[in-house]
């Protein structure tokens, strides 16, 4: 079939009267860096959840890495999340009784082997080397968010789904996270970032704008890794 890593085909998600997504179609090529923008309630998180195998569409199909998600069992979907996807949640979500390092190691544990050194290194990359032994409640919002980034990337996912990964970060830390995403991008990882920030969107090669659950625009720039390039605003 297609050699896309992701095909969203005519997907709708309906919550009673609310149509969170309406006939959304979207194809993503391997290694592509995509930004999704749009006003609050436009269905960005809903789309991410469906692509991330956490939710299923009311109508339409999603084909991820050649697999039709509607054909898979819950166990197989879990396996895909574990093996191929890195998730950064809008509201970060860490396990409260585990420290930063352990929270990263949990992702390793469910994925394959636990490697403490590697987990520490991932924390260091997001500037949290000295916060490894802190519990989530001892970390600021931005620090927690960076732990989530480290956790999402620890297993080198094929597809990174990041929902507002820099929403709580200052410029310095935003830069740190963006560097990490660039690193993943260079290694061939596919990235989908939901963001309200034009600066963050600038890093992407392509910007999809959602409005009222529909794709309002889908623009492909040349190379957005250069901040001086063309930019979109939501």
């Amino acid at each position: 079939m297609s050699d896309n890593i992701l095909d969203v085909i005519d997907v709708s998600k309906i919550y009673g009267p609310v149509k969170a997504l309406q006939n959304v179609s979207l194809s993503v090529r391997p290694g592509e860096w995509l930004a999704i923008m749009g006003p609050s309630g436009s269905g960005k998180t809903t789309l991410m959840n469906i692509v991330g195998c956490l939710d299923s569409p009311s109508l339409g199909r999603v084909i991820l890495d050649g697999l039709g998600l509607d054909q898979l069992t819950a166990g197989e979907l879990t396996a895909i999340r574990r093996e191929a996807i890195g998730l950064i949640f809008q509201q970060f979500h860490l396990i409260g009784y585990l420290n930063a390092l352990e929270n990263v190691m949990v992702a390793q544990y469910y994925h394959s082997l636990v490697d403490e050194a590697e987990a520490l290194e991932a924390l260091a990359k997001v500037g949290l080397a000295d916060r490894a032994k802190h519990l989530p409640r001892q970390l600021s919002g931005g620090e927690q968010q960076r732990v989530c980034v480290a956790r999402a990337l620890i297993n080198h996912p094929k597809l990174l789904l990041a929902d507002e990964p820099t929403g709580n970060l200052d410029e310095t830390n935003e830069g740190l996270v963006m560097d990490i995403l660039h690193g993943l991008h260079r290694q061939g990882g596919t990235i989908i970032v939901v963001t309200h920030s034009p600066e963050v969107a600038q890093h992407a090669e392509r910007v999809v704008v959602l409005e009222h659950g529909r794709v309002a625009s889908d623009s492909r720039g040349a190379d957005f890794s250069d901040p001086s390039g063309a930019s979109q605003t939501a």
Partner: protein
């Protein structure tokens, strides 16, 4: 392995964080296990305990001289049908004697009705007293042969036995029965063993005010409560008795007993004194035996009717099982001059009560465990609900249902094991408490209770966790990770 370490870290942290919930789980399991341990501990030990307890409802075998018993057969079986209990025992034999004498002087009918209203002893001895009948030695058993009762195949099931010789004596202006017996006699067997046996243990439902009887003090006697009331006797009082042969003895009242039966009108003394007053040295009239028996079944019933009808194999089975009929048979084997009659009602109810008690304990144990499982179910469900975000997150990170189930189950099992261990120890204590208060003795808790207890912990906590685990597996990450 590092992965195992993460698992244990998560386990320990989760346990520590939800200390109170896990303590509650431990407590619930502990409560259930302690009750179950206590009840099962008592149940495994209860066979002996209940038997010992039931012994107090009287002997279940009556040993009488062959001649006397033969004549009394008809009468005796009727008596059994109408509900013999331990106390009836003495009367049965008394009646047997009376019957014999009644026949002898041709007043059978009158006797029989007199006996039916429960004055057997008086009548019997009354007759003997006025000398209208001659008692021949076939009506007696030799005291010095009785030890053989403890030497049958089922010797260890013979819990207790006591011989009796009743003689009518003149006490004050009244004629009262004086029954001689062994109070608490230690006899040495030819095997080198010694056994302690006697009436005090057989009549454990009697209440006694004062000192128990003493086999070594022939002039000390126990007096029935009715007689004591009539003659104003109390422990320490003096009482003069005169036997049919004119012999007088000055007795001291050691104690006043209350049996609730005919005996309350009489005197109980050492066998030696009764033999002296009755002029029957070395003889007894009857022996009551209390034996632990296996509940009767078809085989036992057939054997009781006619042991000769059994096949070789059946015979061996019957003989080597502690049926009341096989014990009776073995006593007759070893003492050829006796006839042994089972007191059926007591023997049957003994087995039945034991079975019912055990069934009741099993049911109570199951109910207790069921309650624990229900309580645990609530606790675990609350625990899982409280952690739904964490569980949803784990799922989102790719944790399989199995991995999460393992974690939650491990938590519950750790808590349960602590609770179970504590409960087991408490249960041991509780079993002793039950043993001491209900049965008046320590309970020997069998080792079998430990694996059963472990299984109970496992079953209860697993069963209790099931609903929560189902909810856990069904939980969708998006429902709890509201990222919108």
């Amino acid at each position: 392995m590092r992965g195992v370490r993460v698992f244990f870290k998560m386990l320990i942290r989760a346990l520590a964080r939800q200390k109170r919930k896990h303590l509650m789980i431990a407590f619930t399991v502990g409560l259930g296990v302690s009750l179950a341990t206590a009840m099962l501990g008592v149940m495994f030990d209860v066979g002996d305990k209940v038997n010992q307890e039931l012994k107090s409802y009287g002997a279940n075998l009556s040993v009488v001289p062959k001649g006397a018993s033969m004549l009394g057969d008809l009468y005796q079986s009727r008596e059994i049908d109408s509900g013999a209990d331990g106390k009836a025992n003495g009367q049965v034999d008394g009646r047997a004697d009376g019957r014999a004498s009644g026949r002898a002087d041709g007043k059978a009918n009158g006797r029989a009705s007199g006996r039916a209203d429960g004055k057997a002893n008086g009548r019997v001895s009354g007759r003997a007293d006025d000398g209208t009948i001659s008692l021949d030695d076939n009506d007696y058993l030799p005291e010095d042969q009785l030890y053989k009762i403890k030497m049958i195949f089922w010797a260890y099931n013979i819990v207790d036995f006591a011989p009796y010789l009743t003689v009518e004596v003149q006490a004050g202006d009244q004629t009262v029965p004086l029954t001689g017996t062994w109070f608490n006699r230690t006899i040495n067997l030819p095997t080198g063993e010694s056994v302690t046996t006697g009436m005090m243990a057989l009549k454990s439902w009697w209440t006694l005010n004062g000192a128990p009887g003493d086999d070594g003090a022939p002039l000390k006697a126990l007096v029935g409560s009715e007689l004591a009331k009539r003659q104003n006797l109390a422990p320490g009082s003096r009482l003069s008795v005169k036997g049919p042969n004119g012999l007088s003895r000055e007795l001291t009242v050691a104690g006043v007993f209350h049996s609730g039966g005919e005996e309350d009108n009489g005197i109980v003394s050492t066998l030696a004194l009764a033999q002296e007053l009755a002029d029957r040295p070395g003889l007894v009239q009857r022996v009551e035996v209390s034996a632990l028996t296996t509940p009767e079944n078809e085989l036992a019933r057939r054997a009781a009717l006619n042991p000769g009808s059994l096949s070789r194999v059946e015979w061996d089975t019957w003989y080597c099982t502690a049926y009341i009929s096989s014990i009776a048979y073995q006593i007759e084997e070893i003492l050829p001059m006796v006839r042994v009659k089972p007191i059926l009602r007591v023997a049957q109810s003994e087995g039945a009560i034991l079975e019912k008690t055990q069934l009741m304990i099993v049911i109570l144990t199951i109910l207790t465990l069921l309650c624990s499982a229900l309580a645990i179910s609530n606790l675990v469900t609350a625990n899982v609900m409280e952690r739904s975000v964490e569980i949803g997150l784990m799922k989102a990170l790719g944790a399989s249902g199995l991995a999460i189930t393992a974690l939650v189950l491990a938590e519950i099992l750790v808590a349960s094991c602590f609770g179970g261990l504590a409960g087991y120890l408490v249960g041991l204590g509780l079993a002793q408490l039950i043993g001491l208060t209900v049965f008046g003795s320590w309970v020997a808790v069998k080792l079998a209770v430990i694996p059963i207890g472990a299984l109970m912990v496992l079953a209860v906590s697993l069963a209790g966790s099931l609903p929560a685990l189902r909810a856990l597996l069904r939980l969708k990450p998006t429902e709890v990770l509201h990222g919108r």
